[in-house]
Each structure stands twice: as structure tokens, then as C-alpha cells.
């Protein structure tokens, strides 16, 4: 859920943007991270772990724990907590190993 009237901070007028998670569209505000934009839409699961198949989400919000890797605009393993959301951004859950040997990566 977005905090529209913050109890302490001044109101800001940031542009609303639309992003897409695995084909579904959601709204967020410019200036928010991808992780925050997802949490604002009550999406907490950002992917699942390969070995133990456990759900993964935002943990440290500071780019250190690497729990929030997602595929963002075609790039695999991007930290959702350190990336600002943009209009029309395409995001996918991190549910499998990236194919580093694919043609797309020039290998």
C-alpha cells in the first residue's frame, strides 16, 4: 500500500507510472525502487530459491543481501531494491537460473 499522506514528511507530487510484472500491469510512483513498487501493490514474493525452492523477497533494501534479484527489462539478476522503477518497465519473477550462454548475451 502506498503512503499518500506521510505523518512527518512533506507531500510530494511524483508522476504515476505503469510497470508490468510477468504481463500484468501495476501502478507506482516515479522515484520508487522496483522492490518498493512491488510491495506497494502487495507483491511480496519476488522469486524463489533454486536449491530449496523457498520464496524470496525484499530483505535488506540496501543492495547487500541479494535476496531481491529479479529480471528487469530483459536483464537477469538485477537488485530490485537498488533499481528505480520506470514507466513501462518489464519485470519478471526470479524463478530460474539465468541462461548465460544464450544468443542474447552473445555467447
Amino acid at each position: 500500500m502506498q503512503i499518500i499522506n506521510h505523518p512527518v514528511l512533506e507531500d510530494t507530487v511524483n508522476d504515476e507510472i505503469t510497470f508490468h510484472l510477468d504481463g500484468k500491469s501495476f501502478k507506482a510512483y516515479k522515484g520508487q525502487t522496483v522492490a518498493a513498487a512491488l510491495m506497494a501493490n502487495d507483491i511480496k514474493k519476488f522469486g524463489h530459491s533454486r536449491k530449496l525452492q523457498k520464496s524470496r523477497g525484499l530483505y535488506c533494501a540496501n543492495g547487500r543481501c541479494c535476496n531481491c534479484f529479479m529480471t528487469i527489462d530483459g536483464l537477469d539478476h538485477v537488485l530490485a531494491c537498488m533499481t528505480l522503477v520506470e514507466d513501462n518497465m518489464r519485470i519478471s519473477l526470479n524463478n530460474s537460473d539465468p541462461d548465460i550462454r544464450s544468443d542474447r548475451d552473445g555467447n
Binding site: 506521510h6 512527518v8 522515484g31 518498493a36 506497494a40 520464496s55 524470496r56 525484499l58 535488506c60
Partner: protein, 361 residues
């Protein structure tokens, strides 16, 4: 790219380290891996006391703005989304930005990378909805998003209580604070009083035995002296305290030392905040976990030391400035956090002794 002083980390320590060199005409470059500057202060709406001059009691968010604004008139390059990734053989610093690596030649490097939050682990701690107390604060006050509706907090340090108040203010329910010790760690009597007025249960001698839920936290189980308590929550915040971030010191070949009172492993440094690598200085929480007053003062001390070692300040003037700043550190950290201050002095003494030993060998 060439610069007089490269500062790694644009939080309160790095920003304050920049002020003296920048206002004395040096070129300063500040890099940060985040998209904006201010570090954790950007999200800290709580008030901070015991700040060094020229600052007065202030919300962290405002202080962050002031630290940045007072650098704007000077020759300071702010490079956001720039990450320190390595050092070339000749000492050039490698910084990554998007898909390129930029070499930076600096006369001196100040590492002010701050601290990371320690985890407290329990079965289910990796579920979405379990996050550090700092992460919950970032969501609320930087991104303006509710981290959850029904929260429980593990750990009872001062930071935890600040964020509990902020969670309440944005309309979240806080169902309890869980502390494994027999009493809360918070010592500030004013804040203890404020907490009592919130009517939130404090579970001492207690711990989380498990967090459960389908794809996200839905339930938490607490254990207290054999008694079992379950609560429906969607947010578990972990307040496990802080530890210095060390990778940059490893890259710069700085010697590390373990110091419990300063938060664990830290780089060794002398009274000028110079590490065992003479081109590299340290400031802020990276030099041992302290208060915001300690962070700002060590930052300024480091800035003055760098100017002195490059001959920008005359040695007598530098010595006087440093004496002043050490006195200020005593007045702020020495009184507010005496254990930290004395541990810092002892660590500096130990480092000097080991340096002397190396020289006589």
C-alpha cells in the same frame, strides 16, 4: 578520471568528510552505489541529538539534506550508482557504473561505507515479509510504501524503538517486541517512557521459534520460558544491530582487527583515521559502530587529516584542528557512548604499538 580526494560512500560520514577539503579548494569526488546521497539518513525521520557544530537537533531526513546542500558551492562531484569494485596494480581505483568500469586516480581515498544490519535467524526467516528494521524504515520514509499492516519486531535496540514509533505513525499495528535478553536493550529513558505509552507488549526472554506462511509471512510463533505464543502478522522486522562493511578495506589491503565493543571486525587505523594503507582513510560506522554525532565527527577528522597529509593545511594548524575534533569526539561519543569511545582509543593505541614493532624489526 583524476581527483584530489575520493570518498567511497555518500552517507553522513562521507558527506561530512568532504566538507573541509572541498571548502578549502580541493576537488572531491563522492561515489555511492545508491541512486541518491545521504545514506540511511535519507530514511530516518527520527530526531538526532548530540550533533557536532554547526548542526543542531534535527530529523535525519533534514540533516541529510543539509549535509548535501552545504557541499554544493564547492568543487564536489557526486557520482550516484557508482560502485567501488576493485583496485588496479598501480593503485588506481576501479568503479563500476551501469555497464562500464571507470578508473579513478585519487591522491587520497576515504572509505565511509558505513555498516550493514546483522541478521537474527529462525526457521522461516527467509520468507517474504521478514526484513531488517532498516528496510522497513526505507520503505516507509524513502519510498513511502507500507512494509506491512501487522508487525512484530525482533530485537529491542534504540533503532528498533524509533522505527516502531514510525510504523505506528503510518498506521501499522505493532503486536510486540521480542527480546532474547531479560530486559530491553533501549536505555534512553525518554524513549522508554514514550514506548510504554504505546501499549505494545514487550516479550523478554523470548525468541521466534518459527515464521510460517504461503509465499509470505502469515503467522509467527514465539517461545518464552516454555510458553508458546502465536500471532497473525505479515511483517517481521529484525533489529540485530550493525556491523561495519569491510569489503572496501579488503580490496585496499587494509589490515583488519576484531573489536567487540566497536561492532566486530573493523579496519585498523591511527589517530588521524589513516588505515594500514597510507593512501586510505576511514570514517563513520566503518571505523566502528557509533552514534550519528560520532559518525559526523570522525568524518570531519578524516577530512582534516587528508588535507594535512597533502600539505593543504599547515602542520601546526592541522594539529590544532585535530585536537579540537578529538575533544569534540570525547564530548559527544565519550559521554554518550563511553564504551565505544574507550574501545576506539584502545584500538588506536594497539595499532600504534604494532606499527612501532614493525618499524623496529
Amino acid at each position: 578520471m583524476e581527483t584530489d580526494v575520493l570518498i567511497i560512500g555518500g552517507g553522513p560520514a562521507g558527506l561530512n568528510a568532504a566538507f573541509e577539503p572541498a571548502s578549502n579548494g580541493m576537488n572531491v569526488t563522492i561515489i555511492d552505489e545508491s541512486f541518491s546521497f545521504g545514506g540511511q539518513l535519507r530514511s530516518q525521520t527520527q530526531y538526532f541529538d548530540h550533533l557536532p557544530r554547526p548542526f543542531n537537533r534535527e530529523r535525519g531526513t533534514n540533516l541529510s539534506r543539509k549535509l548535501i546542500d552545504r557541499l554544493l558551492p564547492f568543487d564536489v562531484d557526486f557520482l550516484p550508482q557508482h560502485t567501488f569494485v576493485g583496485k588496479y596494480k598501480d593503485g588506481t581505483i576501479g568503479v563500476s557504473h551501469k555497464n562500464e568500469v571507470i578508473p579513478i586516480n585519487a591522491k587520497k581515498v576515504i572509505i565511509a561505507t558505513g555498516a550493514a544490519e546483522e541478521a537474527i535467524m529462525f526457521p522461516g526467516w527467509t520468507l517474504p515479509g521478514v526484513m531488517t528494521i532498516g528496510a522497513a524504515q526505507i520503505l516507509m520514509n524513502r519510498d513511502r510504501v507500507m512494509p506491512g499492516k501487522d508487525a512484530i519486531i525482533v530485537g529491542s535496540n534504540e533503532f528498533a524503538f524509533d522505527v516502531v514509533q514510525q510504523l505506528k505513525d503510518v498506521g501499522a499495528n505493532v503486536h510486540g517486541i521480542v527480546e532474547s535478553d531479560s530486559q530491553m536493550r533501549l536505555q534512553n529513558s525518554q524513549k522508554i517512557e514514550a514506548f510504554k505509552n504505546l501499549g505494545i507488549p514487550l516479550y523478554v526472554n523470548a525468541s521466534i521459534t518459527e515464521a510460517q506462511g504461503k509465499g509470505k509471512v502469515e503467522k509467527v510463533f514465539l517461545g518464552r520460558n516454555g510458553e508458546k505464543i502465536n500471532l497473525d502478522v505479515d511483517l517481521i522486522c529484525i533489529a540485530g544491530g550493525l556491523m561495519s562493511i569491510l569489503e572496501p578495506f579488503e580490496i585496499m589491503d587494509c589490515k583488519l582487527v576484531y573489536n567487540q565493543a566497536l561492532g566486530g571486525w573493523i579496519p585498523e587505523y591511527d589517530k588521524h583515521f589513516e588505515t594500514s594503507n597510507q593512501s586510505t582513510y576511514v570514517a563513520g560506522n566503518a571505523a566502528g559502530i557509533t552514534s550519528i554525532g560520532g559518525i559526523l565527527t570522525t568524518g570531519e577528522l578524516t577530512g582534516v587529516s587528508v588535507m594535512a597529509s597533502l600539505g593543504v593545511l599547515k602542520s601546526e594548524e592541522a594539529a590544532e584542528r585535530k585536537r579540537d575534533l578529538w575533544h569534540q569526539l570525547y564530548q559527544i561519543e565519550g559521554i554518550q557512548r563511553p564504551d565505544t569511545y574507550h574501545a576506539r582509543l584502545a584500538a588506536i593505541k594497539d595499532f600504534n604499538t604494532s606499527k612501532d614493532r614493525t618499524l623496529t624489526k
